[in-house]
């Protein structure tokens, strides 16, 4: 059995690498984009607000699976063609940015307006106020929700299966179908558990860091 494991492990790990890549790039892009979009959602410019509200509503109101299929199989019909990997990243970033935007919007709204005023009488600029006072408080508020989404993202990444991308789930499924054994799928489960465990650990460290103050 050990022999069999060592035989299929390379393909599982290369699938896991694809999963990690999608996870990583989605997170790296969606968090800053989400902050920007959340500022837009609370902007004074009404048309910008409407567009972003519509975007968030659309992304959160339809399944990510549909969005993925739409980008990869739908858009080529009107001449927009993505590679599998690019299609996956595009759909994931678009989707997760919307969720993060909502989370950050809530975070910004939870900040006492008096914080901006006391920064203002101390003559801090708008940028200094955001950087030194507001954003740290917002991050503390949103870390738990961002954490939930991060764990979801690890699992959601398996949806790329439908557009034929060779991720961890696909690697396991291929091996199971070929060798008629459950073992690959069990291993896939274990690797997912490992990844979520690591993410949970990192998130807990971040939360602890922000627990120094209230």
């Amino acid at each position: 059995m050990l022999h069999y494991v060592s035989q299929i492990l390379p393909s599982l790990l290369s699938g896991a690498w694809m999963t990690i890549k999608i996870f990583f790039w989605t997170l790296i892009a969606s968090i800053p984009l989400g902050i920007l979009a959340s500022l837009g959602l609370t902007s004074k410019i009404a048309p910008l607000r409407w567009i972003l509200k519509f975007y968030v509503w659309l992304m959160r109101g339809t399944p990510l699976l549909l969005q993925l299929i739409f980008v990869f199989y739908g858009l080529p019909i009107i001449g927009i063609i993505f590679q599998r990997y690019d299609a996956a990243l595009f759909a994931f970033i678009l989707n997760y940015t919307a969720y993060f935007a909502e989370i950050f919007r809530g975070g910004f709204q939870a900040i006492d307006p008096g914080q901006y005023e006391s920064a203002r009488v101390l003559r801090l600029t708008r940028g200094q106020t955001l950087r030194k006072i507001v954003i740290p408080q917002v991050i503390k508020i949103v870390v738990p929700s961002i954490g939930n989404e991060t764990i979801n993202l690890i699992k959601d990444s398996s949806l790329v299966y439908v557009i034929g991308l060779g991720d961890l789930l696909r690697a396991g499924n291929v091996a199971t179908a070929r060798d008629v054994t459950l073992l690959p799928l069990v291993l896939v489960g274990i690797i997912y558990l490992l990844m979520t465990a690591i993410a949970t650990y990192v998130l807990r460290k971040v939360e602890q860091h922000y627990r120094a103050w209230r």
């Binding site: 005023e117 006391s118 003559r123 200094q128 120094a212 103050w213």
Partner: protein, 212 residues
């Protein structure tokens, strides 16, 4: 000296201050009293530039002055808010030194040296590394005062400095304000506590509600 001339302030068409005149003498304590809803906080917010006035003018040391648009670091109006509005994510020391470093461009050591003097003077010694949530109400207020003083304000304003504190801390606040007066700080104190006002005031200004 700060002069307020015919200050008018409205909220949604409702007049709160109408042709309000006042003079704030240097190195004195000016208290502003009046019933709830009269516009004391509003007046303080106009003086500190947090609200725009609808008409009238400010004159500071003989020169026209716009608190809402004042970027002159020699003419800072400091504010101690009723609920202090300390920065919860910064330690006591960082609360004090943040603005002097970013705005007055003091070096870290310069800012910390000055902060330490004020910390010792206002009896916060040993609290430098704590976060605001770890302070008592009185300590929070003293931190708010130190934070404002570190910007070398021309005038220091307080909104209801006794309201968020235990009654037995009233005397301490009095002592602090009178102590700062001895160091030639010009102060404006809004309060509805007449006895407190009389104890500290060089000048007592009344704000009355305006009938619609």
């Amino acid at each position: 000296m700060l002069e307020l001339k015919k200050i008018k302030k409205q909220f949604n068409g409702r007049t709160i201050l109408n042709n309000f005149d006042m003079q704030v003498q240097d190195n004195q304590i000016t208290t502003i009293v009046g019933p709830s809803g009269a516009g004391k906080t509003t007046l303080l917010r106009c003086i500190s530039g947090l609200e725009k006035i609808d008409s009238g003018s400010f004159v500071l040391d003989g020169k026209p002055f716009d608190p809402a648009n004042n970027r002159d670091n020699d003419n800072v109006i400091g504010v101690v808010f009723q609920d202090f509005q300390l920065f919860p994510n910064l330690t006591v020391l960082d609360n004090i030194t943040l603005a002097p470093q970013l705005v007055l461009k003091q070096s870290k050591s310069e800012a910390e040296k000055r902060a330490q003097e004020l910390i010792d003077q206002l009896n916060l010694t040993g609290k430098e590394g704590l976060y605001p949530y770890q302070l008592s109400g009185g300590q929070k207020q003293r931190l708010a005062i130190v934070r404002a003083l570190a910007m070398n304000p021309k005038i220091l304003c307080y909104d209801e400095p006794t309201s968020a504190l235990d009654p037995d801390l009233r005397q301490t606040v009095e002592d602090i304000i009178l102590g700062l007066k001895k160091q030639n700080m010009t102060q404006i104190v809004v309060t509805h506590d007449m006895e407190f006002a009389k104890n500290i005031a060089d000048q007592l200004v009344r704000v009355e509600p305006i009938k619609a």
